[in-house]
């Protein structure tokens, strides 16, 4: 294995390994985690690679402490991440909220498996999609990516780090067992990797206010031990980071945690649309389910069906403007997910009222049969 931080070249990697390499290429130098299938290959790779790049790997006692350590790592000045799967993701929720409240840049990869509870440890699922947005209590904006291949595990882990620094918040990579474990070609090129640096203070320590937003609603960030004031709390706080428990402060702070994502959607949201020009039906999918949906889309086109396909690259914030616009004039929208109906609710919420929305569910443990998706497409034609 290469000892370079950016392991340039072409490799036949699984998604978990590609995620770890993406993190390292993006400058991650602190990983804290707890083993859980099907993400253990991320932790394993990080445990081998972190010492080679002067980083730190810690296996913590559980997931609660893992995410706590990651928040600490970020405030200590390192690009930090953890990775887990459903049961661990549930355990992390309280401190994910702390990360949102304290505006701590970090990356959390959730390699989803069959759920709820311990469910299907070694098999695919997409049951944590709503949890990524609504899992911790309270209101806050969320950025979550849904990669569809090992290559995208690399690319979108890099991007997740950059967005986490740009918007000073935890960012999710919502993958699944199938992507985590399957091997495909991953090409790593140094020139493709842009780094969004930490938003360092541009004022003196005396003037610095660690929670005073800049024009894009995001504050600058200093690390502990550099002479700047670094006071963080989960309580509602003022620009100094000190608790201030009143209605006005709550309104401004929580409003901003939502708005810094909401008002920057133009920069954050990514979708990919194909075949929509003459489409009467649209397939909307994401992650592993999209790979099957794409197969179904090609079969449908070969059979002369007027169908288009849209992939949600960012699942959160939900691409509501794009889906609303694309749904105008359609007969129907087909939404395959490897759960019993999660993001389909978002599609229903924003789609044109004339377009009927149909879920193609899968309880998890395997992939859809492309024919199941085709049948629903056909029902609208």
């Amino acid at each position: 294995m290469s000892e370079n931080a950016i392991m340039t070249g072409k490799y036949f990697l699984n998604g978990d390994e590609a995620c770890a390499e993406g993190a390292i290429a993006a400058g991650c130098r602190f990983f804290a985690g707890y083993p859980i299938t099907p993400q253990s290959e991320i932790a394993e790779r990080m445990s081998q690679r972190m010492p080679q790049v002067n980083g730190t790997f810690i296996q913590m006692e559980d997931e609660l402490s893992s995410i706590a350590a990651v928040l600490g790592g970020a405030w200590g000045g390192k690009r930090s991440m953890t990775a887990t799967s459903g049961p661990g993701f549930s355990l992390m929720m309280e401190n994910i909220g702390l990360g949102m409240m304290t505006e701590t840049p970090c990356v959390i990869a959730d390699i989803q498996r069959g759920s709820p509870s311990t469910g299907l440890p070694t098999a695919v699922g997409q049951g944590d999609m709503m949890q990524a947005q609504w899992g911790s209590h309270g209101d806050y904006g969320v950025i979550a990516y849904a990669p569809t291949s090992p290559q995208e595990m690399f690319d979108y882990t890099v991007k997740a780090f950059n967005k986490s620094e740009q918007y000073r918040m935890p960012v999710f990579v919502m993958a699944d067992e199938k992507i985590g474990h399957m091997r495909e070609r991953v090409e790593i090129r140094e020139e493709d990797i842009d780094i969004y640096p930490r938003r360092r203070p541009n004022v003196s320590p005396e003037e610095f206010l660690p929670f005073k937003p800049e024009d894009d609603l995001v504050p600058q960030m200093a690390s502990a031990g550099e002479g700047y004031r670094v006071h963080v709390t989960g309580l509602t706080h003022d620009y100094k980071g000190h608790p201030k428990l009143d209605v006005e402060t709550q309104k401004e702070l929580i409003g901003r945690l939502v708005d810094k994502v909401e008002k920057n959607k133009g920069d954050i949201v990514e979708i990919e649309a194909k075949g929509m020009d003459d489409a009467e039906v649209m397939i909307v999918s994401y992650g592993m389910a999209y790979r099957t949906a794409m197969g179904a889309y090609k079969m449908a086109r070969e059979r002369g069906m007027k169908v288009g396909i849209v992939r949600l690259i960012t699942v959160w914030p939900f691409p509501e403007g794009q889906i609303r616009e694309l749904s105008e004039g359609l007969n129907g929208i087909v939404v395959p997910e490897i759960n019993l109906g999660q993001l389909v609710r978002e599609v229903e919420r924003v789609a044109s009222p004339d377009a009927e929305v149909k879920l193609v569910p899968h309880a998890g443990g395997g992939l859809h049969d492309p024919e199941d998706i085709l049948r629903e497409v056909e029902s609208f034609l």
Partner: protein
């Protein structure tokens, strides 16, 4: 053209490694698209295990095997589990000494390779999987031998290159003879 290959055997035979080498040969050294999905779980560590490889000239969307074109089965258990599931006109490679003679399904070409004993003959039975890969290249042209060799050399531990190269060569020769019969 989509090609689906399933490797089956027991944990320790290098089944997943064979799938990895084949997928890598296609996707890194032959510039095709390839996906490997391996069996994952307790059964992969001693019991029956399998590795599914899909190879396509264009981009692969649906990554799972539907009906395999090629089966490479290296244990009786794998034979019993997987041998019925093969495309008409498909190709089946069996470990001659570990799989009992069975009638091939209709319209399936069946080849029997004594991979483990060839491997022992070249130095170590651990390279039986690579012998099979040599035979695979000779009997089907899904992955050419040169690219298979590059992938083998890129995948095996340092110091075992010659052993693996010889195993691949011997498997290829054996496969060529079988195909000529």
């Amino acid at each position: 053209m989509r090609k689906e290959i399933r490797f089956g055997g027991f944990g320790g035979q290098g089944i997943i490694s064979a799938g990895n080498i084949t997928g890598k040969a296609a996707s890194i050294f032959a510039d095709k698209d390839a996906v490997l999905i391996q069996s994952y779980g307790p059964e992969a560590r001693g019991g029956a295990c399998s590795a599914d490889v899909v190879i396509e000239d264009d981009k692969i969307d649906y990554p799972q095997i539907t009906v395999p074109h090629v089966l490479i089965l290296m244990s009786q258990e794998a034979y019993e589990k997987y041998s019925d599931d093969i495309e008409e006109g498909g190709t089946m490679l069996l470990e001659k000494d570990l799989v009992d003679e069975g009638p091939p399904p209709d319209d399936v070409k069946q080849y029997r390779v004594p991979a483990t004993s060839i491997a022992e003959d070249v130095g170590h039975k651990i390279v039986a999987n690579v012998v099979m890969l040599g035979a695979l290249s000779a009997i089907t042209s899904i992955v050419e031998k040169d690219q298979m060799e590059e992938s083998v050399l890129d995948s095996v531990p340092e110091g075992t290159e010659e052993l693996n190269k010889t195993a691949l060569e011997r498997g290829f020769e054996y496969g060529k003879e079988l195909a000529a019969e």
